[in-house]
Each structure stands twice: as structure tokens, then as C-alpha cells.
């Protein structure tokens, strides 16, 4: 199962499910809910943390947290 940590730069995914008891409620409130989209904007040097667009909120989280969020990766569609 793919997680947010598996996204490559510029790739998007739709949040499927997550281990909800370990994920901080703060992240849910920012819109980390099943059905919402996540886009990986940038990965920091040394691969961590990662910078994502979580349904409109631009935030950086550590990789360990990203691994807890499962999603379906949407193959990158070419921009118009």
C-alpha cells in the first residue's frame, strides 16, 4: 500500500485511509481526511522532511508521519 512518503515530486494522491489512532488530530483538522488530495511539492535535502500541499494547506511534515497516511497515487497528468 502506498503512503504519502512514496510520492515523488509533483505527484498527487487521494487519501484513502490511515491508522487514525496514531495520526495527530491536528493533521485531520488541516484537511487530512479520506477523499482529499495530497501533492508532494518538495523533498528536503537528506530526504526529510517533506513539503506537501494538503488540500490547499501548504505544510512540511517529517517522513515518519507521512508514512502513516495511505493513499492512491494519481499518475501525473500533463499540465495543459
Amino acid at each position: 500500500m502506498a503512503t504519502v512518503a512514496d510520492l515523488t515530486q509533483g505527484q498527487k494522491g487521494i487519501i484513502k485511509d490511515f491508522a487514525e489512532h496514531v495520526l495527530p488530530i491536528k493533521l485531520l483538522e488541516l484537511g487530512c481526511l479520506p477523499g482529499n488530495s495530497i501533492e508532494l511539492i518538495q523533498v528536503a535535502p537528506l530526504n526529510d522532511p517533506i513539503y506537501i500541499n494538503l488540500s490547499g494547506s501548504h505544510i512540511a511534515i517529517r517522513r515518519s508521519l507521512a508514512e502513516l497516511i495511505e493513499l492512491d497515487i494519481i499518475e501525473e497528468t500533463q499540465a495543459l
Binding site: 488530530i25 493533521l27 483538522e29 484537511g31 528536503a44 508521519l65
Partner: protein, 738 residues
């Protein structure tokens, strides 16, 4: 109406809440601390139409009422406690037009507490650029509130907020989301057990980890007729609550808020590509760092020199104008010098906070945190520790204040504790004079030994900070569960007004906070240095005068006079002044110089027999193994106030009248120890430098650490740990090198 309307400003971070606060209150604001904790409490008065006044409280930024940090729980605590004197008559929720959806989450929670609530949609000036259009009237209906569309940047909409506040009695206080829908069965039971309490309030109390005074959590858990749920079940329900709220918000925005992505223009993406780039990102950060250093070391030296001069003049003026006496001495040497010691830091602090607030306001700081986080983590530090560590090379005081941005308490505490190891500017005069004395002038590979030594000292300081962070990370057992999450806000041009307020406020809080303690200790040091109990002290003038009469001036004084006269003669001859005139001048000069030399010898003798001199003598056995004599011992003692005092104290002890480095240096070089070798040799010099590199010789830092950690425990720990470590290193260095 005599009572002020209590208004609470609430909002997500980065929504411009502080700008709204500044524009509502202007300069009629004050910043204090909430009792017992170091969270800043900002409040102010705002004049409303029809002569009514509002008391505005700027609450810490929070994403929701489910709290994860001290700042956030404060918001919840206030909103749940109707008896609090600050309990709001009306809540003003500040949101930002681009992140409205997420901001409304907090709005619905506050609305559900049945507090009359106004919604402020800020940054309205960005709407067209982002392709956003809104139907405010429809939105007001759906959210059951009043909305003010505001642009703090352009100063628009502030009057509308004031009108809405004045008119708060007409606001609806009906909830947005019915709490019962979270779990009908559970809430039914809750209602039966506590028929008089508000359901959503109860729910907040149950799900928070913090214990609130008004409705005791224990009280709920103890109620026998009511079985509470396990943590996991509660979390599931919270999840459900989040989903319900977003359903409500999506439903509201579907009709009233439209974004035309084709019209949206933004430079966030392209700027981020460069500023967080693997190579360019660091390069740009490095250049910004250099600029900050330049400002702190170079630009601020002009105002600092100026301040130094003015205070010296003021002190001189007082001595010359007021009748001589204890009071004049206290004023001139204790109080003025003490205040000067505080004011001298203002330029550096102001510059530093100017840059920090520019970086923060523009949104760049989040990018630095993003770049540095992984590098800092192995040491128990966070990406957010980088700013304080860098600031520390100027001065540990603003650096410790800059740790406030770190939400995680353990990471913040470690940063505060290790920051004083970085080489601050006060160590520089000490290093410079010692290096010039004991490090040979030669070069290696084109680099001078002296420059290399100075660089090495900077590296040692930074290395020690990192190393001790690693150790503290292992030994400190502090549970801190706050997660690392940084919002990457859109880039915006900093608002000058906000930057100015920040600089003003931080400088003020330094001057009045730490200043009091610095002043007090300066006065104590002055007292100990200018008073003594022994007969020798009381009869100092008599004794010294007798000695001079019998043995003449000390060799040093003689040289001092001779050198001055020689210098004058050489100059005068070169300028072609007639020999007779020169002879006359020299005669009156000798007289003046002799008087000065005598006064200095008395001062030196007095200091030796003052309380602090006695202390230095008593202290000598302790510093002897490090290669210091009692005079250096006194300098070390007095420089506890601030490191740079070291040079000044030695100047007084060696009765050198001027603070000119060259004279002190010559005098220090001539000083011999009991076995006839130079007192400042390689071994004792390096031992001294290492001592100053590691010791906590700065009461201002201790004062600020006390303030920031709100306990004496941590500054005392720091003092003990650093002093013992410095002593041991200095001891080992001296014993090996000697």
C-alpha cells in the same frame, strides 16, 4: 455604558491576526505574560463608535480547539471559563481568504461554544490575484454570523470590525454543528448525567489532555452513573466530528466561495523551487546569514560606540558637577554604568529582531526550518533551533528570546541551554587581547596563528553547543509530544508596521525585563569594589601617599609618565615648536601626569583591599592551578556580570588610566608571576581563553533564561554545568601546557 466590551481575537497562525490587533489597538497595547507561564499575553484598548471601548485580547494562534501546546490550551481554557475576567463577550475569528476552508474549522468550533462570533476574512486584497470570488451575504446566512472583509495591508475593513463589535448584542450565538450528531447515543447519556452543562463544552473537556478548572475532568470521570469511553473510541469520535465539520464547511462554501484556478497567479511555487533547492536553498540562506552577521557585528558597532561614549560622558559629567560623595559615586559608577551596560545591547538586539521579523513576516523562515530540520535532529534540536544558534554569535540574550518559535518544549529547552556556548561578541575583546599577548605572530600556509586561533575559538564554541545538545538530548527526560509540522505560508512583503512593532516590543521587553537584574548586580559589584572593611582600605590614601613619599612612584607609573612625555617631545619637535616652550609644557604636563598616576595608584590599592579585592585574594587558591593570580581572579569574578568587563577590571587593577588596548596590553605583558616568568604566557593565556569559551560569565543571559524558562532551576543548572566544565578544561589545558 461603563463596562468595556471584552473581545477575544482568535485565529489560525499566519492569518494576519496580529496585524488586525495592531490596527485595532494602535499603540494602546501592552504585552505581558500569563501568570505562571511564558506565553505572551497581548491586550489593548480599542475605541468604538458612540464612545464605547473594547478590551481586545490577542489569543495565541491555533488551528483548532483540540490543543497540543501550552499556547493553544490557553485559548480553550479561556473560552470554557465563563468566570474568567477576560471571558469574551464576543469572539472575533480571523481567517485568511486563501485558506478559508481550513480557518472555518476553528470558527465552527467557537460558534458551537455559543459565544457571539464575528468572522473576519483577511487579505481581501489577494482575492482577484488568486481568482477568488465570494458571496458574503449568503455566507453570513449559512454560517449564521456577521462577516467583515478586511485587508490589513491596505487598512481596509477595520471600521467594519469595530461596528460589528459595538453591535455584538445582535449577533447570533446559535451553534453551527449539533454536537449530538457526533454520537447521538453517547451525547444523550452525557446530557442525562450533566443536565446543566453545555454538551459541546463537556465534550471538549473530555477530549482534552489538559485539566480545566471550571468543569473538572475528574468530576466527569468519577460520575458513577456515567461510563466514559476509551481513548481510542474517543479519538474515533473526534475523527467523526472533524468529518462532520468539514461536511458543514464544504456545504457552505460550495455556493458562496469560488476559485477560478485559471485566474490564479502565484509565485509561491516558483520561489519555493529556488529557496528550498538542494544547493541554491543553502546558498541563499548562507548569504542571508552573512548579511545578518554583517549587521550585528559591523553596522551596530557605530551606535554601540556612540552609546558607550555618551554614557562615559554622562558618568564623567555627574562626577564633575555633583558634589563629591557616596551618592555621586553610586550614580556615576554604579547606576549610570549599569544602565549603560543594558543600553549598549539595544542596537544588536534591534538589528537581530529586525531581520528575524522580516524573515518571519515574509514567510522565508519556514523554508529555513524545512531545510535544516533533518540536519539538526540527531542532536535533539529542531530545524527551528537554527535561528537562535546563529543569533548567539552576536549575543545570547536575543538568541534565547528567539527560541520562542520552537513549539516543542524539549527542543526549545535544549536550544536555550546550549546557545550560550556559541561565541558571542562580548567574548571578542577578551579573546583579542589574550591572543595578541600569548599567540606568536608567525604564519602557517599564509594564515596567521593569531587569526587561526580566533577561528578555532569560534569553532570550539559552536562544536560545544552541538555536542552538549547531544548529551542533553540523552539525559533530559521530558515528554513532549508536540509534532513537527511547519506551515509554509505564501510569500508576502513584510508589513513595515508589524516589523516595527516587533522590534520595539522585543527591545522593550529586554530593557525592562533583564535590565532590572543587570542594574541590580552592577550596583552590588560597584559597592563591593568601592568599599572595604580593613584598615588598609580605610587609610588607602595615607598609605599610598606615604609609600610614594618614601619610595617614589611605582616603576610602572614612572614609565607611564616618561612614555607620555617622550611621545609629546617627539611630536612637538617634529612640529618645530621652540625648545623653551616645550620645556614649559613638559613641566606642567609632568605635574598633571604625576597627579593622575598617584590617583591611579590609590585606586588600585583601594581595589586590592576592597571587598572584591579581598574576595580575589580568597579566591586565589582556586584559580592558582589554572595559572592565574589574584588580580586575574578578580577580573574573572567581576566579569561574571559580563565577559567584556574582564579587560576593564584588569585596567583598573593595573592602574592604567585609559582603556586604550595598547596600554593595557603593554602592562599585562610586563606582569610577572612569583617565579619571574611572564604572568600571561602561552599556558595561562590558553587556559583563560578556554575558560571564557565555556564559562557562563554573563548574568544577563542567566536573567533571560530565568525569564524564558520561568524558573531558577535551568539558569542555575546552566551556570553550574558551564562553570565546572570551563574550570576543568582550563585546568587541564594549563597543566598540560606549563
Amino acid at each position: 455604558m461603563s463596562k468595556n466590551i471584552n473581545v477575544a481575537l482568535i485565529g489560525n497562525p499566519n492569518t494576519g491576526k496580529t496585524s488586525v490587533f495592531n490596527q485595532l489597538t494602535g499603540l494602546k497595547q501592552k504585552v505581558g505574560n500569563y501568570p505562571g507561564i511564558t506565553v505572551e499575553k497581548k491586550e489593548g484598548i480599542c475605541k468604538l463608535p458612540r464612545g464605547v471601548k473594547a478590551h481586545i485580547l490577542d489569543l495565541p494562534g491555533t488551528y483548532s480547539l483540540n490543543t497540543t501546546s501550552l499556547d493553544e490550551s490557553l485559548v480553550v481554557e479561556l473560552l470554557l471559563n465563563k468566570n474568567d475576567k477576560d471571558y469574551p463577550d464576543v469572539a472575533v475569528v480571523i481567517s485568511d481568504v486563501e485558506n478559508l476552508k481550513r480557518n472555518l474549522f476553528l470558527f465552527t468550533q467557537i460558534k458551537d461554544l455559543k459565544i457571539p462570533t464575528i468572522l473576519v476574512i483577511n487579505m481581501a486584497d489577494r482575492m482577484s490575484r488568486k481568482g477568488i470570488s465570494m458571496d458574503i451575504e449568503a455566507m453570513e446566512k449559512k454560517l449564521d454570523t456577521k462577516i467583515a472583509l478586511v485587508s490589513t495591508r491596505k487598512g481596509q475593513g477595520i471600521e467594519r470590525i469595530k461596528e460589528l463589535i459595538a453591535d455584538y448584542k445582535n449577533l447570533s450565538s446559535a451553534p453551527n454543528v449539533d454536537a449530538k450528531r457526533i454520537s447521538p447515543e453517547y451525547f444523550e447519556r452525557l446530557q442525562k448525567t450533566f443536565p446543566n452543562e453545555d454538551l459541546y463544552k463537556l465534550w471538549l473537556v473530555i477530549t482534552q489532555d489538559v485539566n480545566f478548572m471550571p468543569i473538572e475532568k475528574k468530576h466527569i470521570e468519577d460520575a458513577t452513573s456515567f461510563t466514559t469511553k476509551s481513548k481510542e473510541e474517543l479519538k474515533k469520535l473526534q475523527h467523526k466530528e472533524t468529518v462532520l465539520r468539514y461536511q458543514f464547511i464544504n456545504n457552505t462554501l460550495k455556493e458562496t466561495y469560488k476559485v477560478d484556478f485559471l485566474a490564479a497567479k502565484g509565485f509561491r511555487a516558483s520561489l519555493d523551487k529556488i529557496l528550498t533547492h538542494k544547493i541554491f536553498g543553502y546558498l541563499i540562506f548562507f548569504v542571508i546569514l552573512l548579511t545578518i552577521f554583517q549587521a550585528i557585528f559591523d553596522w551596530s558597532s557605530y551606535p554601540m560606540d556612540f552609546i558607550d561614549e555618551q554614557f562615559a560622558l554622562a558618568s564623567e559629567w555627574i562626577k564633575n558637577t555633583l558634589p563629591p560623595g557616596v551618592f555621586t559615586d553610586l550614580l556615576a559608577e554604579g547606576i549610570i554604568a549599569g544602565i549603560g551596560g543594558i543600553v549598549i545591547f539595544i542596537p544588536q538586539i534591534a538589528f537581530l529582531f529586525l531581520f528575524i521579523s522580516l524573515l518571519e513576516e515574509s514567510g522565508y523562515m519556514s523554508r529555513v526550518v524545512f531545510l535544516m530540520d533533518r540536519l539538526m535532529r540527531p542532536f535533539g534540536l529542531s530545524g527551528k533551533s537554527i535561528v537562535p544558534l546563529i543569533s548567539g554569535t552576536a549575543c545570547a540574550i536575543p538568541a534565547v528570546m528567539a527560541t520562542r518559535t520552537i513549539e516543542n518544549w524539549k527542543e526549545r529547552l535544549i536550544t536555550i541551554l546550549v546557545t550560550p556556548f556559541t561565541t558571542c561578541s562580548a567574548r571578542l575583546p577578551v579573546y583579542l587581547i589574550l591572543i595578541a599577548l600569548v599567540i606568536p605572530k608567525g604564519t602557517i600556509l599564509g594564515l596567521s596563528y593569531q587569526a587561526l586561533t580566533l577561528m578555532l575559538l569560534y569553532l570550539i564554541g559552536f562544536g560545544m553547543a552541538i555536542f552538549s545538545a547531544m548529551i542533553l538530548n540523552k539525559i533530559l527526560k521530558i515528554k513532549s509530544r508536540s509534532l513537527f509540522m511547519v506551515e509554509m505560508p505564501t510569500y508576502r512583503l513584510p508589513l513595515l508596521k508589524n516589523v516595527a512593532y516587533t522590534v520595539l516590543e522585543k527591545t522593550k521587553s529586554f530593557v525592562f525585563g533583564a535590565g532590572k537584574i543587570i542594574l541590580a548586580i552592577s550596583i552590588v559589584l560597584w559597592f563591593l569594589g568601592s568599599n572595604g572593611y580593613s584598615e588598609d582600605f580605610k587609610n588607602a590614601e595615607q598609605i599610598v601617599n606615604d609609600r610614594i613619599e618614601q619610595e617614589g612612584l611605582s616603576t610602572y607609573s614612572k614609565n607611564y609618565i616618561q612614555n607620555n612625555i617622550d611621545a609629546y617631545r617627539e611630536n612637538a619637535l617634529a612640529e618645530g615648536i621652540a625648545p623653551e616652550v616645550i620645556q614649559d609644557s613638559i613641566q606642567s604636563m609632568t605635574h598633571d601626569l604625576r597627579e593622575r598616576a598617584e590617583a591611579q595608584e590609590i585606586a588600585s590599592y583601594k581595589l586590592e583591599h576592597s571587598y572584591i579585592g579581598q574576595a580575589g585574594k580568597a579566591f586565589e587558591p582556586l584559580v592558582k592551578p589554572l595559572g592565574y593570580d589574584w588580580k586575574i581572579g578578580i577580573a574573572v569574578l567581576t566579569s561574571f556580570a559580563a565577559r567584556e568587563v574582564f579587560v576593564g577590571t584588569l585596567a583598573t587593577i593595573y592602574s592604567v588610566g585609559s582603556d586604550e588596548e595598547e596600554t593595557i596590553k603593554t602592562r599585562m605583558a610586563a606582569e610577572l608571576d612569583s617565579s619571574g616568568r611572564p604572568l600571561f604566557n602561552l599556558a595561562s593565556g590558553i587556559s583563560l581563553m578556554l575558560f571564557y569559551a565555556f564559562a557562563m560569565q554573563c548574568m544577563s543571559t542567566l536573567a533571560i533564561v530565568k525569564r524564558e524558562t520561568n524558573s531558577w532551576k535551568w539558569p542555575l543548572f546552566q551556570l553550574g554545568f558551564m562553570s565546572v566544565f570551563a574550570y576543568l578544561v582550563a585546568l587541564i589545558a594549563y597543566q598540560i601546557l606549563i
